[in-house]
């Protein structure tokens, strides 16, 4: 049975080929807005900027998709997006859209690399099984051991779970597949 909740819509991480200079400038400004809870990731790398388009009036229309329904950072993110665009001298309207729903498959490759760099295990690209698959074995981001276990499905933020390495005994965060 096809899963109605999981869309085939893919991530977007920058202007389409042939976009005008203003749209490109907006993407550049957006790439400087960091997620307040995981400040190594920009909102573009997180995959929550769905589109930047020019309205007939010339104004930019920016669509942003929240991550978790209960993410308390959503309001702050929208505000920071608006501020960054205004600072770049761009006339833009920012709206939140919930469909299609955000998935961790939309986190860019550079975003995944940044998560790994700070010791957060990035989510596997398997959104079709988002949050339903049995918890997979993950390797310790610190020592590389495969001998790890999950301490809690719920970590310090809605998007992370807490694991522990049985070899080096260090706890670490895992970005949930969503």
């Amino acid at each position: 049975m096809p899963d109605a909740a999981i869309s085939d819509v893919v991530g977007c991480w920058g202007p389409e080929p042939g976009a005008d200079a203003t749209v490109k400038a907006a993407w550049t400004a957006l790439d400087g807005v960091m997620d307040p809870e995981i400040p190594v990731l920009s909102v573009v790398e997180l995959g929550i900027v769905r589109s930047v388009a020019r309205a007939a009036s010339g104004r930019l229309e920016v669509m942003v998709t929240p991550t978790y329904s209960g993410c308390p950072a959503t309001g702050v993110i929208l505000l920071e997006v608006e501020t960054a665009l205004a600072r770049a001298g761009l006339d833009a309207r920012v709206s939140a859209v919930i469909a299609p729903p955000w998935t961790t498959d939309w986190i860019s490759d550079s975003g995944r690399a940044r998560l790994a760099e700070v010791g957060i295990v990035p989510p596997p690209r398997s959104g079709k099984r988002a949050l339903t698959a049995p918890d997979e074995a993950v390797a310790c981001p610190l020592c590389g051991s495969a001998d790890t276990s999950q301490i809690s499905r719920f970590g310090s933020t809605a998007c992370k779970a807490l694991h522990r390495c049985n070899a080096c005994l260090e706890p670490f965060d895992v970005f949930k597949c969503h």
Binding site: A5, Y68, S69, I98, A99, P101, T103, L131, T132, F154
Partner: protein
């Protein structure tokens, strides 16, 4: 959309929104009080998701109603008799086991509901459900795991889970009620058929209860009325706390 369908859709979104809001608030009462740190974080994370769903659903209800009420207005400026949540959601937390039983009975319903609602002919509800179903799938795994662990645990934990199940079971019948407004929505492909939900819920609940070594209570007399605004004595206290600030300082902004 004809006025009757619009009115039915408003009522439907309101019931779902109220149920999420009230249960989310109940879970938030565990913040700082759960038996261990990880559970404190887990229960409040689930609470945040539920309040998030409530915001989306109540905002949509207000939009469908078309009388200028936003999600805050609906959440904070209605009294007990205007609330349309399931009675299950407003039941007090009591102990951790009781909270888990309440949560599992709800989650098992929510996951089946949103899974189907994601295919609704109404784009607004479908969008909200597609987002919510990913989160409630995670919730039901969590509450189901705890149900098994405590049901199939010690004599004390087993007894407590059994008692909680007996106490809460009469609140479950209401989740599958159907009135003329829902008949209209089901016919239009907007809402799933509650009978289909009940069958799926029964199967899921039976499987988890069996693993938890808990006996499924018989479907006897069911407590109903929440969906029509007839609530237990517990909801008024919950709303008094939840609504205090916006009632004390109406229209305050910061």
């Amino acid at each position: 959309m004809d006025p009757e369908t619009r009115q039915a859709l408003f009522g439907y979104a309101l019931r779902l929104g109220d149920t999420s809001l009230v249960l989310g608030h109940r879970l938030s009462e565990w913040c700082g009080h759960a038996p261990e740190l990880e559970e404190d974080i887990a229960l409040t994370n689930v609470a945040l998701d539920l309040v998030g769903h409530a915001r989306l659903l109540l905002a949509y209800a207000g939009e469908v109603e078309g009388e200028g009420r936003d999600e805050d207005r609906l959440a904070y400026r209605r009294d007990v008799l205007d609330y349309r949540n399931h009675l299950l959601a407003e039941q007090p937390n009591r102990d951790f086991g009781h909270t888990i039983v309440r949560q599992f009975l709800h989650d098992a319903w929510a996951v089946e509901l949103y899974d189907r609602l994601a295919g609704s002919t109404d784009a607004g509800l479908a969008g909200i459900a597609a987002k919510a179903v990913k989160e409630v799938r995670y919730h039901v795994r969590h509450s189901g795991d705890w149900l098994i662990r405590l049901g199939d645990g010690t004599d004390v934990s087993h007894t407590r889970m059994r008692d909680a199940l007996e106490r809460l079971w009469p609140c479950t019948g209401e989740m599958f009620e159907r009135d003329s407004a829902e008949d209209r929505l089901v016919a239009a492909g907007i809402a799933p058929d509650p009978a289909e939900l009940r069958a799926a819920w029964n199967a899921r609940v039976a499987a988890v209860l069996a693993e938890a070594t808990l006996e499924r209570p018989a479907d006897g007399w069911m407590q109903k009325g929440g969906r029509r605004g007839e609530h237990s004595e517990h909801l008024g206290y919950l709303l008094a706390e939840m609504q205090f600030l916006p009632r004390a300082y109406p229209d305050a902004v910061w």
